[in-house]
């Protein structure tokens, strides 16, 4: 057997002589990629160009490309009329806080599930099962609870709920990464007298670090994008997040599409930068857990 036999079936096949069918397939592939590219990118490009059009042009023409030159007035107005930095800061605080809480709870729990079968099948399925429920189903009781303990309109209150929402995702991903570690390594550490928590901290976490990074980034992005809980639980600039800022925009100032585009872009760019920077981890993390 050569290496060739072990290569994945549909990838890196040896080049074959050109064949009309094959050329057609290649053309089809490029046309598809082109269409996909256009469909994916045009809304994003439109957002950028709209933010740079003059407000008058936005009202009269839906052209993708600005024809009257580039204007920065939408950006100025967006930042002047709406406290964007405030919203973004709240989003960041809620995101970091909720991600930290999620990992703090999900890490030991998923370790106990994978290694000691803690809670049997029931407990892990309960956690993962909560993912099925739409957030709206807990919103009334949770609103009452948060109001009773004074956590309405507080970043911490919203972060708590984002933790609840992200716990199944994080547990699912972390359990999957932990299953890949051979038990021998941990047993060796146990012989040396480490506690289970010690093993988790010193052996397991370093071994699954890429997976942990992927999990953290996904939790961060999910929190950054979350809308329903933020809508219900935040009332003022003290805790309102970026998605709420965007939705308020439309209510208070009429539909100023140029300003909305500028504001929306301000919240999208950090996510894209983060995702492209950690692209490898993200794709690895997403595609490992989901499919098996």
């Amino acid at each position: 057997m050569t290496d060739q036999a072990f290569a994945p079936p549909l990838r890196r096949r040896p080049p074959r002589p050109l064949h009309p069918m094959r050329t057609a397939m290649r053309a089809l592939r490029w046309v598809t990629v082109g269409l996909l590219l256009a469909f994916t990118l045009i809304p994003l490009i439109f957002m950028v160009t709209t933010s740079l059009k003059s407000p008058i042009e936005i009202r009269i023409s839906g052209s993708l490309i600005p024809s009257e030159g580039i204007f920065w007035v939408n950006w100025e107005r967006a930042f002047r009329n709406v406290p964007l930095p405030n919203y973004l800061l709240n989003s960041l605080v809620v995101g970091v806080l909720s991600t930290a809480m999620t990992l703090l709870i999900a890490l030991p729990a998923s370790y106990a599930f994978v290694r000691f079968r803690a809670g049997g099948r029931f407990l892990p399925s309960w956690i993962l099962g909560t993912y099925v429920a739409p957030p709206i189903v807990i919103s009334v009781p949770v609103f009452m609870l948060m109001r009773a303990v004074g956590l309405v309109d507080r970043p911490f209150g919203l972060a708590l709920l984002h933790m609840v929402a992200n716990l199944p995702v994080a547990t699912w991903m972390l359990m999957d990464f932990m299953r890949t570690i051979p038990t021998e390594i941990e047993e060796a550490a146990q012989m040396d007298g480490s506690s289970h928590c010690g093993v988790l901290l010193r052996i397991v976490i370093p071994l699954i670090l890429p997976g942990l990074v992927a999990t953290a980034i996904i939790c961060l992005i999910l929190s950054w994008n979350e809308f329903l809980f933020a809508l219900i639980l935040t009332y003022s600039l003290r805790s309102q997040t970026f998605p709420i800022g965007i939705s308020e925009f439309q209510g208070e100032h009429g539909l100023q599409f140029g300003e909305i585009s500028a504001a929306a872009l301000t919240g999208i760019v950090p996510v894209y930068v983060l995702a492209l920077f950690f692209q490898r981890y993200l794709i690895h993390g997403l595609t490992r857990g989901g499919v098996k």
Binding site: R13, P43, T130, V132, I136, H196, N225, L228, S247, V271
Partner: protein, 297 residues
């Protein structure tokens, strides 16, 4: 040995305790609270005014808007799941080889589903705008439309327009996960088929499709569960309108509880929604087990 065992048990207990506490406070308690509230006459500011037994439930079952909202949620969720799975898996089949095109598509595919839905809905609103929208601009110029159309203002079309944004956002997710399914296929069946002289099409129909079925089914179930939660796109694009033609269950329950303050009634609808979803997920799990038994690796 005995003491060590006890120490271990206590340590494990501490490891799962925070997760269990979270589940009790944010999953069990809300469920019990919702059931209690659904049996009462409750307002947001004045909960539990009176015990009304099953009145909220009989009201909900009789409420055409509520039944409609469940139906619309199913139309939305099954619709987008079917389209996204077909498109995403199809793209993965087409781009399932190391090439510049596929690497580029993979990076690009990461972007839509991490875009804040509220932000992307804001721009789709302008794309669909009846007077200065991009879609009207180009469709009228190309002669496909005679005059501007209010994409979000016509029942039926509004629903399709919201679904298109979901397709924009989630097809790349299906594509990325489908690539992973394809990459995990074993090689032996293909070698055996090649020895037997099967052509590419036969290999695709008799090997690739059946082997991919369980994995693709999981992806579709993930999407279905996600699409059942739809709220932000509807909130931003149509607010449930025109009429109630895009009023999905999440949005109707939100409106009832937080705009009309009828929390008792909203709780009854919530419990019904939970029951419907539980039945759906149970059926899907059975379906997946069957596929796994028949085609699983």
């Amino acid at each position: 040995m005995h003491t060590l065992h006890r120490r271990t048990r206590r340590e494990i207990l501490w490891m799962v305790a925070p997760a269990v506490l979270t589940l009790i406070v944010f999953s069990l308690y809300p469920l019990v609270y919702s059931i209690a509230m659904s049996l009462s006459d409750s307002q947001l500011a004045r909960p539990f005014r009176a015990f009304v037994a099953f009145k909220n439930y009989t009201d909900a079952v009789a409420d055409a808007l509520f039944r409609g909202s469940i139906l619309l949620t199913f139309v939305y969720a099954f619709g987008v799941t079917a389209i996204e799975t077909a498109l995403g898996f199809g793209l993965a089949l087409l781009l399932n080889r190391e090439s510049r095109a596929s690497r580029f598509a993979r990076t690009l595919g990461l972007l839509p589903f991490i875009t804040p839905p509220v932000a992307i809905a804001a721009i789709w609103r302008l794309i669909y705008d009846p007077s200065s929208g991009m879609l009207n601009h180009y469709l009228v110029r190309a002669g496909i439309l005679e005059q501007n159309v209010a994409f979000l203002g016509i029942p039926g079309l509004a629903m399709a327009s919201v679904m298109l944004v979901d397709v924009w956002q989630w097809t790349p997710f299906v594509f990325l996960l489908s690539l992973a399914v394809l990459a995990s296929l074993p090689h032996e069946p293909y070698e055996a088929a090649a020895v037997d002289g099967a052509n590419t099409w036969q290999q695709f129909v008799h090997i690739t499709l059946p082997l991919c079925l369980p994995g693709v089914l999981i992806i579709a179930i993930l999407r279905l569960i996600g699409a059942m939660k739809v709220f932000d796109l509807v909130f931003m694009l149509t607010s449930g309108g025109p009429g109630a033609s895009t009023q999905v269950a999440s949005f109707y329950i939100y409106k009832t509880a937080f705009q009309q303050f009828k929390t008792g009634y909203a709780s009854a609808m919530t419990i019904i929604l939970i029951i419907v979803l539980t039945i759906l997920v149970t059926l899907l799990t059975v379906l997946y087990r069957k596929a796994q038994q028949r085609y699983g690796l």
